[in-house]
């Protein structure tokens, strides 16, 4: 196989995988939430209701795609695309297994952080361009939430990068041959999990949407496939954060016995299910609680973690001045 063919095959595989995983996840989430609420969830369309998302998709495609007359048209249309595109772009650098993965950037980790920061624009722009008060409040909240969570999301990963000595995600996985970073970077893991949840604005941190107070927050004015795109983007974000947690802290494809791809998928699926469990179990914190927790607890925690990790790395490499 030529190099170009291999690249295109990988691109196709990742895009196809991610875009089929997203609707599959919607089904999985509804089934799991139902399980934890002693219900059944969608179980009528196809075996175990697995085609439910397909039916929903047909429905959403045939819906009127309405742009409110008071909205800022151009921005309104672009906003939902941004979230899906940035999530897909970040998935490009996620190493699935040796030889599988679109690109291996030597700044992969930074690239993903950059992309997730860009993704925040989608929510902010969507909230702003809708020109409605609930959307604006949602956009405003997400702006504050994402800016503050971005800070220690990056810092929590700095420890991993220090231990691995590289920003390349493949290199980080290879560095975990001896021990998963989940152990030495336990604090970083916890903070990253929470920051990742906040970054994808999933349920415990879904303040930008907050159905019970803001109608639907930033996407209150969206309908049809534009709303669908926000939805797909959110689930792509979940896949991304779950994949990142398994790559950065749980050794990615490394594992005994099974095929590397299966290891990667199993770990990612585990974290996806964990995120759904978070959604099933935890209530949404108040806005000021979220911000206070971010700046007063998580940020100092990551800074201490970073300082200790740095000290250990320096001491191990012979100590003293470089």
């Amino acid at each position: 196989m030529t190099e170009t063919a291999r690249v295109w095959l990988n691109v196709g595989l990742v895009i196809f995988g991610a875009l089929t995983l997203a609707p599959g996840l919607i089904w999985l989430e509804r089934r799991l939430l139902a399980l934890w609420q002693d219900r059944y969830g969608p179980n009528r369309v196809g075996p175990f209701g697995i085609l439910q998302s397909l039916a929903d998709m047909i429905k959403i495609f045939t819906k009127e795609d309405w742009i409110p007359p008071f909205a800022d048209r151009a921005v309104f249309v672009i906003a939902p695309a941004v979230v899906a595109v940035t999530a897909l772009m970040s998935l490009a650098v996620v190493p699935v297994a040796p030889g599988i993965g679109v690109v291996d950037l030597n700044v992969g980790l930074l690239y993903i952080l950059a992309m997730s920061s860009l993704g925040a624009y989608s929510v902010v722009l969507g909230g702003w361009s809708s020109n409605s008060k609930y959307s604006l409040l949602g956009g405003l909240r997400s702006a504050a939430q994402m800016i503050s969570y971005e800070v220690f999301m990056g810092l929590s990963l700095a420890g991993v990068a220090l231990l691995a000595g590289t920003f390349d995600l493949r290199g980080i996985v290879e560095a975990q041959r001896g021990m998963w970073f989940a152990l030495p970077q336990a604090a970083g893991l916890v903070v990253f999990l929470i920051a990742g949840l906040a970054e994808t604005h999933r349920l415990p941190f879904d303040l930008p949407e907050a159905e019970s107070e803001l109608v639907a927050g930033f996407h209150a004015e969206y309908s049809g496939m534009k709303f669908g795109l926000f939805f797909v983007g959110e689930y792509l974000g979940v896949v991304l954060v779950a994949a990142l947690v398994s790559v950065l802290f749980f050794g990615g494809w490394l594992g005994p016995g099974l095929h590397p791809v299966l290891w990667f998928l199993a770990k990612t699926l585990f974290f996806i299910c964990l995120f759904i469990l978070f959604r099933a179990a935890l209530p949404r914190p108040r806005y000021d609680q979220l911000m206070a927790w971010g700046w007063k607890v998580a940020l100092p925690l990551t800074l201490i973690n970073l300082a200790v990790t740095g000290a250990v790395v320096v001491a191990r490499s012979g100590g003293g001045s470089p």
């Binding site: 002693d38 978070f278 179990a281």
Partner: protein, 180 residues
């Protein structure tokens, strides 16, 4: 603002997660309705029927009490009489798209004619199909009151049954014969 206590919050959060996870092994409460029929109580108020007395005659005497008590005015009927003097409804119509299944008609009915049954599966494609006429409402049996026959206990003279011939009824007293 309350002081932040991250430690306690973490413990309680983990406990919450665990206890929600344990729900994976609970029995699900959903009744899978079309496959699995629900257990309805005997007094469930569903589709309304008109019953017949044990002799097979219509119980309804066309007194309009059900139509009068109906809070949504979904019952329409017209009383008439046959040649023997027995009253019955010429037509009896219930609009089930209005009916709220309150059961007032059953309570008001003096002859146990109108009764509510535990059948609720009345879905229709067209609204007009929800208007039930007498032939849709009448059933062949006596419903919840098997032995009851209004015209056999009422002191009313109709064809084939004169005054004093009803159950538990004394023959009429001739007032003039009581003179001393």
């Amino acid at each position: 603002m309350r002081r932040l206590r991250p430690g306690l919050g973490l413990v309680s959060t983990l406990r919450t997660l665990w206890r929600v996870f344990l729900h994976s092994f609970r029995r699900r409460v959903t009744v899978q309705y079309p496959d699995e029929k629900p257990d309805l109580p005997a007094r469930w108020r569903g589709r309304i029927i008109l019953s017949r007395d044990p002799d097979g005659g219509e119980r309804c005497v066309g007194c309009y009490l059900c139509a009068a008590v109906c809070p949504v005015d979904c019952i329409a009927l017209q009383a008439t009489e046959d040649e023997t003097g027995r009253r019955y409804p010429a037509f009896f119509r219930i609009n089930f798209s209005r009916c709220i299944f309150c059961g007032f008609c059953e309570e008001a009915c003096p002859t146990y004619a109108i009764q509510l049954t535990p059948d609720f599966e009345m879905g229709e494609e067209r609204r007009e199909s929800l208007v039930y006429e007498k032939e849709d409402l009448l059933i062949d049996g006596p419903g919840k009151y098997p032995g009851y026959n209004y015209y056999r206990v009422a002191g009313l003279a109709i064809g084939g049954k004169d005054k004093g011939e009803a159950e538990n009824e004394e023959p009429p007293v001739d007032l003039r014969s009581l003179l001393p």
